[in-house]
């Protein structure tokens, strides 16, 4: 530990200067004990663990993490019987108090990890065309738009993106009327059409990652 700075007053941001190991994170935040749970499934620094279908969440915008933790807590997510990973997540979110949810969101936002590997194939050019309708809310470069409650799409696992698109399409996500933005997304996803179109658009989104 060579250098420690504070992030948002609660997390120590630790920089391992010159650790000489490119694949390990140079920057790491240390979660308080009650948030270690997040990293058991989502991996160290929220880098994701496809083996147990826990997506990468590193650096995710805190407002969006908070929104989704509340979606789980409220049962908008993780209650559909076809959503096994969602059901795995739900009790965790349900156990968090409002202030713990805020702390969790800040922790997630402060984490850093290498960008995810590509695991699915698709037609990038076709995906780019399809992406036009996504860009309206999620931004030209997938950077997200907090004003529209549209999260960034870069840095997410491709397998997770396609799962969520399918979940929206099939009404596994975005079916609860109280989940306004989820409902909106569900409606929009129908524009994409068939599964191949979804794979293409996900493949295109993975090209938007910037290092």
């Amino acid at each position: 530990m060579r250098n420690a700075t504070r992030v948002r007053s609660i997390f120590a941001l630790i920089v391992f200067a010159g650790s000489g190991w490119a694949s390990a994170e140079d920057v790491a935040v240390i979660p308080p004990d009650e948030l270690v749970y997040c990293t058991v499934c989502h991996g160290i620094q929220m880098r994701g663990n496809q083996n147990i279908l826990a997506p990468r969440l590193s650096e995710m915008a805190d407002w969006y993490v908070e929104l989704q933790l509340n979606a789980f807590k409220n049962g908008w997510r993780g209650t559909h019987e076809a959503d096994l990973p969602g059901m795995e997540m739900r009790p965790m979110a349900a156990a968090l108090s409002a202030s713990q949810i805020t702390a969790a969101a800040q922790f997630v936002n402060a984490t850093r990890s290498p960008l995810p590997e590509k695991t699915i194939d698709g037609d990038i050019a076709a995906g780019k065309r399809n992406y036009v309708s996504c860009a309206v809310c999620h931004g030209e470069n997938g950077e997200g738009n907090p004003a529209l409650h549209a999260p960034a799409l870069t840095g997410l696992d491709d397998w997770y993106l396609i799962t969520q698109l399918r979940n929206y399409r099939d009404g596994i996500r975005g079916s609860n009327p109280a989940d306004t933005y989820g409902v909106q997304m569900r409606a929009t996803v129908q524009i994409l059409g068939d599964d191949q179109a979804m794979l293409d658009v996900v493949r295109y989104i993975t090209t938007l990652h910037s290092d």
């Binding site: 190991w21 694949s23 004990d33 270690v36 990293t39 058991v40 160290i44 083996n51 147990i52």
Partner: protein, 522 residues
Amino acid sequence: MKNLSRRNFLGMVGAAGGSSAIYKTSLAMGLLADTGPMAMLDLQRSDPGRKSVAILGAGIAGLTIAYELERVGYDCTIIEASHRVGGRNLTLRHGDIVDEMGQRQVCNFDDDPEMYFNAGPARLPGHHKRAMHYCKALQVPLQIKANINRAAYTHDTEHFDGKPMRLAEYIADARGFLSELLSKAIDKNAFDQPLSEEDQLRLRDFVRSYGDLDENGRYKGTSRAGYASGGFLSHGKIKQPIEFSALLDSNYWRRGLSSSENFDWGEPLMEAVGGMDNIVRGFVRNIKSPIVLHAQVQAIELQNQGIDVYYNHKGERKKLHADYCFNSIPTHLMKGIPNNFSKDYNDGLSALRPGNFFKLGLQMRERFWEREGIYGGITNTNQRINQIWYPSHGIHSQKGVVLGAYTFWGQSNFFERMTPDERIKFAGDAGNKIHKGYADYIEAGVSIPWGRMNHMMGCGGRMSPEDEKTYFELIRQPEGGHYMVGDQISFHSSWQEGAFASAEYALLDLDQRVRATATGMG
């Protein structure tokens, strides 16, 4: 020799025959405790301070490795993410925490050492020789644990009017009918190769005694099923056999009838007196190496020389450098932990798919099952709880802890989705169908879904047969100085013996390497 103390005597033996003579003589004199428990393996001694070892995970595998290596001079450090030592070897007593993700429970059994529940391992067969060795060396007393009990029940809501049936009756009738069929086949000499007359006679006797058939090779019921009435003050009355078609239609022959034929479940089984975690306590008593709890491994980095392990502890990130690393972290969690292993090795780790066993323990205010003549053993049911286990210890005392549900693989998802209270309620309702007033006896309960436990998220990993061919040997071999260990790296996952065996394999491999370099250097 009259005034010679045992130690002096051993000194003389040592002078005459070397230290191994002392060791053997100590064994013979029952002085094991004086000289320290014996090591299982004959590992080459390393000069203290020369070789360091990082052990990741303080379960059975990690503890075994620390125990063996520190004995021969290695500097060991155990890094454990959880709040406790033991991993899946978990016995729950009053006040213990069940660290389920999002549903933390506190065990509310009475504050009484007899009120405990083995939430992980609960039985040991005698042929698990490594487990036996360590229990003996660590002085962990074992006792017989009834597994199959013919007085316990098979129960099926869809068969035999939903009434529980004693296993004795089911087993006797099943054997009787099968033997009768075979007997008829002998009558017809209906075999591919006609039997010699002598063999026919022998087979007839065999079948008759196997199924308790009458003189004519017919099954008419047997006292083996337990009497319908009488037996002591009057002659016992034989029970009417179950209808053969009803028996075939029932499910127990599919589900549980042959479970005790499984070598690992063959009678008699054993358990550690006072709780299976006494094995863990035995190790902890005999290990001096530091065990760092609340220390989640953050990264594993192979270096040209040795390995760096990063872990968090008390709000700080620490680095431990070691010559060797023995890693028992569940392989399915390894993808979430940064490392610089080769791609193949990581793919192999990912190929192990976790299981998700579920157990539920209930403290009963009275040992009502003993009034039904049941002392230990297991009742089977087609209900989602699968099984009820009756304790083998504390016979005729007031209370007892019963296993109220035990499910495997996909079956456990059902319970995982419930709150702890809902699970107990469900188990109580299911038990009511087998024992009258069952739920009313429940005073306290705990449930342990291993697929939802902190730092586990699964148990008893398995590979598909194809993956096993591609990857098993690969991940059993070390990557640099890094050894993956645990029952997961054995062909016997879900048994502690698998964890012991994997530890042994890795230690012997290390020992070979160390010996090779030692001789290589002249």
